[in-house]
């Protein structure tokens, strides 16, 4: 491995210029990002050497001031380093892009995205919508929503699977619905120090920094999982894999290692992981809070474990489940505390 380049203290000296656009999404990734902590978002941008040329929620520039800036970016007159897209690309109806017109221009936003992506050194898809199509592509997808270089699980999308930005990188997919603020900020910081390369992304071009983990890792319900002590209803304390659709053992993200909003995660909030960092999560083929089963065995087992082994181990561990876990698994509140093994009763 080469030693990192510490010249200039690791930083590119000039600020990195960032342009952010939104299309077929909800703005939730920006709102999540505003919750960045240790430090706050603006300080994080400064630390990463980022200058925000334009962001729809943050910038003063509005109307013609904004569209003429974006026009200069589009023509290349105003060079940019990072282009972030939040929300799906809206191709409908019939490929015209008229479901999302760029305000003040009468031109589909799709066309602006395509042109500006060609000018940026790095292109970042913020959230599962911009990456793969996401929630907006659910149902029959009559709006023809897609991601920057994916259409669901298929390479393609607006820019094509072979797209490479000026720095030679594919679209970097910060998948998630929404993103965790730190997932994006870390990538921006690494780009700012010239240390983000193709070896830092997984097979769906998501940063390995968070997708090298399973949501299962660090799940506070692991003891219930070990003994297959399962929750039956939402708000029960047990493992939600067997009955309630939880995909934590298959979903790739560090949600139970890296706290959300100070201390939380979906599972900590009492509801199942819906695998929102994966392409196609919006159409799981079953109700989100119900585990599909064949002969009573969940279909979606851990990805790299032989099924027969899983079934055998599950049967064994179920037989060995302490009553404490069995009772707590189907309770809203702690019913049976840990047993006392050491202290002598007087």
């Amino acid at each position: 491995m080469n030693a990192p380049d510490f010249r200039n203290n690791g930083f590119i000296r000039r600020p990195l210029k960032l342009v952010w656009m939104q299309s077929g999404g909800c703005g939730g990734c920006t709102l999540s990002l505003l919750g960045a902590e240790g430090p706050d978002l603006i300080t994080s941008f400064e630390a990463a050497g980022i200058e925000v040329l334009w962001h729809p929620s943050l910038s003063e520039l509005s109307g013609r001031e904004a569209s003429s800036l974006l026009e200069r970016v589009r023509s290349g007159e105003e060079p940019i380093d990072i282009f972030c897209l939040e929300g799906s690309v809206m191709r409908g109806p019939g490929g015209t892009g008229r479901f999302h017109i760029m305000s003040g221009t009468n031109e589909p936003v799709m066309a602006w995205i395509e042109d500006i992506a060609q000018k940026a050194r790095y292109v970042v898809a913020v959230g599962s919508c911009a990456a793969y199509g996401g929630i907006t592509a659910a149902g029959d997808n009559h709006v023809e929503a897609c991601g920057l270089s994916y259409d669901g699980e298929h390479a393609g999308g607006l820019l094509g699977g072979g797209f490479r930005s000026r720095a030679g990188m594919p679209v970097i997919n910060i998948a998630g619905c929404p993103i965790h603020p730190a997932w994006l900020i870390e990538v921006l910081h690494l780009i700012g120090t010239n240390r983000f390369t193709t070896s830092d992304i997984d097979e769906w071009e998501r940063p390995l920094a968070y997708t090298t983990h399973l949501v299962h890792h660090g799940c506070a319900r692991n003891e219930f999982y070990e003994f297959k002590a399962s929750a039956e209803k939402l708000c029960d304390r047990g493992c939600m894999m067997e009955n309630l659709g939880c995909k934590g053992t298959q979903a790739r993200a560090d949600c139970n290692i890296r706290a959300w909003n100070g201390s939380g995660s979906c599972i900590d909030g009492g509801y199942p992981c819906i695998n929102c960092t994966a392409p196609g999560f919006e159409e799981p083929g079953h109700s989100f809070t119900m585990t599909p089963k064949i002969s009573g065995i969940p279909i979606g087992l851990p990805t790299d474990m032989p099924k027969a082994w899983f079934v055998a181990l599950a049967a064994l561990s179920k037989a060995a489940t302490p009553s404490r876990l069995r009772d707590n698994a189907t309770a809203q509140q702690l019913k049976a505390p840990l047993p006392n093994r050491q202290k002598k009763q007087s």
Partner: protein, 483 residues
């Protein structure tokens, strides 16, 4: 008469374009255009009813919990599920956290930066405002973002995460609270209250909510210098620019009622018209599509029977926003509507003296931050650890229900029909659908379209700054508007 098109209109949630006809020194006519269509009502058709709780919050990243609450209430009404005391307290606490965070985001990041524009550089107050509120660089952003993020730790405890929680269910919440977590919630609220007192108000929230009329508000503002708090600085600028005369609207204001607990509300529902409160009659709600890009029905549709078939090529339409009407009339919704209906004396006085305007809309929001912070401190003390947070029930295969709530920016309703165990129709009318509605069949403009008429144009302006203030005073959310 000259036509200008203002867009992209940023520092609003979602995508907005405003067409203005200007002559002389004022706007004569306005057309408000929602430019993005995603089709959530179509996505929801055919889904398992419970899956609405996954899709609905994702309509909007800023009103995410409000969308969850409306969906959960529609399901609860359809299934006849009651909510336990703890569940109601938890839902209200989660919802209030979002609504108050949204008010803060609006005030600090979306609305105030317009007064730091160079066009005001000669004003005596400019330096103080620019120092505090310049977009991205102002000191207020640096103060507010950490306070907001810490406040959102309430979501980490009660809702798993924000936005897009699945903790809000028809019968309560999925997350029980332990006694130590009540202590943590109280501590977070104490920290947030400190920010409200020191930075936003420069006073105790109890004093601000006790102000009874515009004279008392003016006297309170004069007690200390404008720079002593962000609200005082706003009031100073508002007086200097006469924001009370800007963006006038308002024959009717509507609220569905906020923070329900049993049969009671912290802010009760109603329609304010001709100086009195009338009940909201849901049979009177309809959506007109004569100027919206959809297949046009023969008559405006009640949302239970509403349709959403996009037609991007309709030449007589100009927005993806439908035109909701109450008994055929335009209504304004939002914090101002909520407080005038609920009967706060200061807001009643402001509305009776000058109607809805840029000044009164912003005052109502700041007042709500104070009111709701106090209420939240009370709610978290009332949790009963050890008792249930959630009831469960089965949804009949055929049923229907409406879920009404108040998002930060106003009245939000979901109309749900289930048949054969699947969603058969799902219609959403969001706050900004009311406020930013296009014209209806009788060519009556929507609330913002009316409020923009008469907006002054300063010498040398092509895109009037007054329009920026008026549009943002509604705290619009365009992703909710069209959905």
């Amino acid at each position: 008469m000259s036509r200008i098109i203002v867009g992209p209109f940023n520092r609003v949630e979602g995508d907005l374009e405003v067409k203005l006809d200007i002559s002389g020194d004022a706007v004569r006519q306005a057309f408000v255009v929602s430019t993005l269509y995603r089709g959530f009502e179509r996505i929801l058709n055919g889904k398992a009813p419970a899956d609405a709780l996954v899709f609905a919050p994702r309509i909007c990243g800023i009103c995410s919990v409000s969308q969850s609450v409306a969906a959960a209430k529609a399901l609860a009404a359809a299934g006849g599920v009651a909510i336990p005391d703890n569940g109601a307290l938890a839902v209200n606490t989660i919802h209030a956290t979002e609504n108050i965070a949204d008010h803060l985001t609006h005030f600090y990041l979306f609305f105030m930066p317009d007064f730091a524009r160079a066009t005001y550089a000669q004003e005596p107050w400019y330096e103080a405002v620019a120092d505090r509120f310049t977009a991205i660089k102002g000191t207020a952003t640096a103060d507010m973002l950490p306070a907001r993020a810490q406040f959102m730790h309430i979501m980490g405890i009660l809702a798993g995460k924000w936005p897009h929680t699945l903790s809000i269910q028809p019968g309560g919440t999925t997350r029980s609270v332990a006694p130590n977590e009540i202590a943590r919630l109280s501590a977070i609220l104490a920290g947030f209250r400190r920010f409200v007192e020191r930075s936003l108000l420069g006073d105790k929230p109890e004093r601000v909510i006790a102000l009874k009329n515009r004279d008392e508000l003016a006297a309170w503002a004069e007690e200390r210098r404008p720079q002593s708090s962000d609200f005082r600085l706003f009031l100073h600028v508002s007086k200097a620019l006469e924001l009370e005369a800007l963006g006038n609207s308002g024959a009717r204001f509507m609220s569905y009622g906020a923070y329900a607990h049993g049969d009671a509300y912290l802010f009760p529902p109603g329609v304010w018209h001709n100086d009195r409160v009338l009940p909201v009659n849901l049979d009177d709600v309809s959506e007109d599509m004569s100027h919206a890009w959809y297949d046009q029905p023969n008559v405006p549709e009640h949302p239970f029977d509403g349709t959403t078939f996009a037609d991007a090529l309709r030449g007589d339409a100009y927005s993806w926003c439908k035109a909701p009407r109450l008994g055929g009339a335009v209504v304004e919704v939002g914090a101002l509507a909520r407080q005038v209906v609920a009967g706060h004396p200061l807001i009643r006085d402001l509305v009776q003296s000058a109607g809805g305007n840029v000044h009164s809309r912003v005052v109502a929001r700041v007042l709500e931050i104070a009111l709701v912070t106090i209420a939240m401190q009370d709610w978290v003390r009332k949790f009963h650890p050890g008792e249930t947070f959630c009831h469960h029930g089965d949804l009949p295969d055929a049923c229907r229900g409406v879920g009404l709530t108040e998002a930060a920016r106003g009245a939000l309703g979901h109309w749900l029909k289930v048949s054969n165990g699947k969603i058969a129709n799902y219609q959403i009318i969001a706050p900004t659908t009311w406020n930013f509605s296009p014209r209806d069949a009788s060519d009556t403009p929507g609330a913002l379209e009316q409020a923009l008429v008469g907006a002054p144009v300063r010498p040398g302006e092509t895109e009037p700054v007054s329009v920026q203030h008026i549009v943002r005073s509604f705290d619009p959310c365009l992703v909710c508007t069209v959905h």
